[in-house]
């Protein structure tokens, strides 16, 4: 068993790194556990290497900022254990993790959950075919391996990430066959009232407009579509989309999908923290106070796994959570905490006003949240949306009954890529809100684990 730490942080993205850095600066003991071999999370993935690599210029200044976060962490003296999968967090704050061979226990006075976000499931016909990936996956390949799409590559979806990825590929000299923009036209109107607040985030807005300009000048065809399908024999060969009421079909050997990102809530749900439905972001998130405290005292949350706010805000949240924990553990007094927090909150206030605008502008079209019958909802168990609807007809009142009837959510990903879809389908079929329907009951182990890895705990 590892030595008791003031903070054990799960996740080495901006929130986790900043929390550990701030804690160490205040003299607290802190250790970061992370799945990846290098710090940065997904947003600053492999930044220490990539910032020197062939894709550095294309990845841009925002990515480069990750270097300063990682450097500060490296200098802070906080502990770092890469290559570990966390499979259980106890209500006491103790964290259990495995390196693939053996498990280890990390006792902590406070556990900081900073596991970030992942891409919202995009259930469309053919999305399980080889050659269909997420835009995030494509961007990870660019960051961590300098890999560029080649051949007939299409990007389909909505949100800031597809625009950013396309601009990075253009900057690196790549070629994309076309962008299928699925943002519903009505979203622009709905987002209008939030534009005034968003103007306080002028740099963000300018960045968005600049990305659109880069895309326009690149000559990459952009199709506004309200439905997308992938088709092929054994792998994706064609993409179909409905633009202006008419279907078009194009040759395609790589299709990247994206409909926004959602908080990774499996850890906090398995611990038993209270969660609620965020209707603006169309996702569940843990209920937190201004110091990232959940309703379970030793469990704290920092960054996008507590609600989507973006990388810069996540870094500030990480520092604020560490300040709160330091005060709660009696290592600094409340006046010191509040004094140190003031500039962080002021800066946070500069990053948040645009969220309502972005969330509303990029709200996914209804068929992403509740897809047609023939579409696979649960990839692991190959369960269709129609089968989930059928469970409702025979009496399932929520995701957990549906799961025991037809195994949706019971595969190795444990509902990470179907949970929101199953909730969405049942909500639509029963006329209830997703918040009323709820989510799968998440149980440990959070990641697949062999009995051998588990048994190593007893040694």
């Amino acid at each position: 068993m590892a030595e008791m730490q003031d903070l054990v942080v799960v996740g080495a993205g901006p929130a986790g790194l900043a929390a550990a850095t701030q804690a160490a600066e205040l003299g607290l003991s802190a250790t970061v556990l992370d799945e990846q071999p290098a710090p940065g999370g997904q947003i600053y993935r492999a930044v220490e290497r990539a910032a020197q690599g062939p894709a550095a210029a294309a990845l841009g200044e925002d990515f480069r900022h990750g270097l300063s976060v990682v450097d500060a962490f490296r200098r802070s003296g906080a502990g770092y254990r890469p290559g570990l999968q966390v499979w259980q967090v106890e209500q006491s704050g103790e964290v259990l993790a495995s390196d693939g061979q053996r498990s280890e226990a990390f006792p902590a006075r406070r556990a900081v959950i900073a596991v970030g976000a992942s891409e919202r499931p995009v259930p469309i016909p053919g999305w399980t075919l080889p050659g269909v990936m997420t835009v995030g996956a494509g961007q990870i390949l660019l960051k961590s391996s300098g890999m560029m799409p080649s051949g007939e590559t299409w990007v389909a979806g909505s949100g800031p990430l597809p625009l950013l990825y396309l601009s990075q590929i253009i900057a690196a000299g790549g070629r994309i066959a076309g962008y299928i923009d699925t943002t519903p036209a009505a979203n622009g109107l709905a987002a209008g009232p939030h534009l005034f607040a968003a103007l306080r985030n002028l740099p963000y807005l300018r960045k968005g407009l600049k990305l659109r300009g880069v895309l326009r000048r690149s000559g990459i065809p952009v199709h506004r579509a309200d439905s997308v399908e992938a088709a092929g024999d054994g792998r994706v060969e064609r993409v179909r989309f409905r633009a202006g009421g008419a279907w078009q079909e194009k040759p395609c050997d790589l299709l990247m999908l994206h409909e926004g990102v959602v908080p990774n809530v499996h850890v906090t749900m398995a611990v038993g923290c209270a969660h609620g439905w965020d209707d603006r972001q169309k996702c569940f998130r843990p209920t937190l106070d201004e110091w990232g405290r959940t309703d379970i005292q030793p469990i704290l949350v920092a960054g996008d796994c507590g609600g989507i706010e973006g990388a810069r805000a996540a870094e500030l949240r990480g520092r604020l959570v560490a300040l709160g924990a330091a005060a709660d553990l009696g290592r600094i007094d409340q006046a010191t905490r509040d004094r140190l927090a003031r500039p962080l909150r002021r800066e946070l206030g500069r990053h948040l006003p645009i969220r309502a605008f972005l969330d509303t502008l990029f709200t996914p079209r209804p068929e992403v949240l509740s897809p047609p019958d023939a579409v696979i909802a649960c990839r692991c168990e190959s369960v269709t949306a129609g089968q989930v609807r059928e469970t409702v007809r025979i009496g399932a009142v929520g995701p957990n009954q549906a799961k025991s009837f037809i195994r949706c959510g019971m595969g190795p990903c444990q509902g990470r890529f179907c949970g929101l879809t199953v909730t969405g389908i049942i909500a639509e079929a029963t006329g209830r809100t997703p918040g009323e329907v709820g989510f799968f009951r998440i149980r440990p182990p959070l990641k697949t684990l062999t009995l051998g890895e588990l048994a190593a705990l007893a040694e």
């Binding site: 080889p130 996956a137 560029m148 990774n264 890529f417």
Partner: protein, 103 residues
């Protein structure tokens, strides 16, 4: 499907992907190496037998489960390559090795 930006300074290792030797960057993951090798399907669904391939590249979706150095069901996107590593397609559900002749 994918190509690499030239990176002559990156150290390399030799791995065997689907029975053939490939020289790849030492920082590659088993999944990115398989994609670069043009492997297409990296496993078959244990439920339907359909071909599947890496999808999220961040350890969430479990679509990239492969047989790596004879150990099945490893998340290929979380495994960094090493010299001599064998990366193979996973045919379906993981077989349980009970150590007997019928294993």
């Amino acid at each position: 499907m994918f190509r690499k930006l030239p990176d002559p300074a990156a150290p390399t290792v030799t791995v065997t992907i689907d029975g053939r030797a490939h020289t790849v960057a030492a920082h590659e993951t088993a999944a990115s190496a398989a994609l670069l090798a043009g492997m297409g399907a990296t496993r078959r669904s244990p439920v339907t037998g359909e071909p599947r391939a890496p999808f999220c590249m961040m350890g969430v979706c479990y679509e990239c489960l492969m047989v790596i150095d004879d150990v099945p069901s490893r998340q290929a996107c979380l495994v960094t390559v090493a010299d001599g590593m064998r990366i193979d397609r996973q045919p379906g559900a993981r077989a349980l090795d009970f150590g007997g002749e019928d294993a």
